[in-house]
């Protein structure tokens, strides 16, 4: 019996350890992750506007690289910055909400500048919304 005890204890430690590891698993590091799709803001918007169901199936939860010109920048009371990219529409565009878990080189984007972001595509309400965005070159 004593012989098995140390194996049982060993297994227990591994079990608890891997359980804790799963529980405290960190969020995906967007900066270090590769974009799965790369599109312009106008293309993303078009895809969602023409067939939302198909676009959801194709893009939801994917890390998307998106490029476009800055149309609007806003900061909410918690200091979360959102950049709206022009998608060739008069009212709506592609909103990139900057990641709260990443240190950003800048949070100030002049309107009209061409920028590139990558982030997680979450779908479309009025605009297409990407969260956890980081700027790329």
């Amino acid at each position: 019996m004593k012989k098995y005890l140390k194996y049982i204890i060993g297994l227990l430690i591994i079990g608890i350890g891997s359980g804790a590891y799963m529980y405290y698993k960190p969020h995906q590091n967007i900066k270090a992750s590769k974009a799965e799709v790369s599109l312009s803001a106008a293309e993303v918007f078009q895809a969602f506007e023409s067939d939302e169901t198909a676009a959801n199936e194709e893009y939801l939860d994917k890390i998307m690289a998106v490029s476009g010109t800055v149309r609007d920048v806003s900061k909410n009371e918690e200091g979360i910055v959102s950049v709206t990219l022009d998608a060739g529409q008069d009212m709506f565009g592609v909103i990139c909400q900057l990641d709260q878990l990443t240190q950003h080189a800048r949070e100030d984007f002049p309107i009209g500048e061409k920028v590139n972001f990558k982030g997680v595509c979450t779908g479309m309400l009025m605009d297409v919304v990407l969260v956890r965005c980081v700027e790329t070159n």
Binding site: K25, G123, L125
Partner: protein, 185 residues
């Protein structure tokens, strides 16, 4: 004829802008939810809710993308999206309803008004009729609104395995906080 058309255009523009002035909107609404049990505290936040309020009729609508909710723990977020909300199939949650006592809100006077919001809350593809208290604060041409909803996962067809049932609150609280601006093109 030309003058008549011009007059008509002018008349329509004025009419339109008046109708629009009654509408308030935001795309930066904040929606959070809280599940509090002795075993585990779960909360998630979303800062990208849209909300449209038509003051004249008291009709309001807000929508939120389920995948844009951010959790403290990655594993919780994964379970929330994949096992419970099935956000790949049901990417949005929507509330459509109206302020029952819209007449009590006086937009020309700054202040805080207590309101009751009634309507249909659609989560996980299943709509449920709800009625909940809220507050509307008028400050100049800006309106902010808050409301608290209480809902049960089971009411929206969300199945929670019995092993983890005690980790998730029977009644989940949803907090809505929006700052609205006049809708203009």
């Amino acid at each position: 004829m030309k003058q008549f058309l011009l007059g008509l255009c002018l008349f329509m523009t004025v009419g339109l802008s008046q109708a629009e002035a009654q509408k308030y909107f935001t795309r930066e609404g904040k929606i959070s939810f809280y599940s509090d049990t002795p075993v585990e505290k779960i909360e998630a936040h979303n800062q990208k809710a849209t909300c449209v309020l038509d003051v004249a009729s008291g009709k309001m609508e807000f929508a939120v993308l389920v995948k844009a909710f951010q959790f403290e723990k990655a594993l919780m977020q994964e379970h929330f999206n994949e096992n419970y909300m099935e956000s790949g199939t049901y990417p949005k949650s929507i509330f459509k309803g109206q302020i029952a006592n819209a007449a009590d809100v006086d937009l020309s006077k700054d202040g805080t008004y207590d309101v009751t919001v009634e309507g249909e809350l659609t989560i996980h593809g299943i709509a449920k009729t709800v009625s909940t208290p809220g507050q509307i604060t008028v400050a100049g041409d800006k309106i902010s609104a808050t409301a608290k909803f209480e809902t049960q996962p089971e009411d929206h067809g969300i199945k929670i395995p019995s092993v983890v049932r005690k980790n998730i609150a029977k009644i989940v609280e949803i907090d809505v906080n929006v700052a609205l601006e006049p809708f203009k093109k």
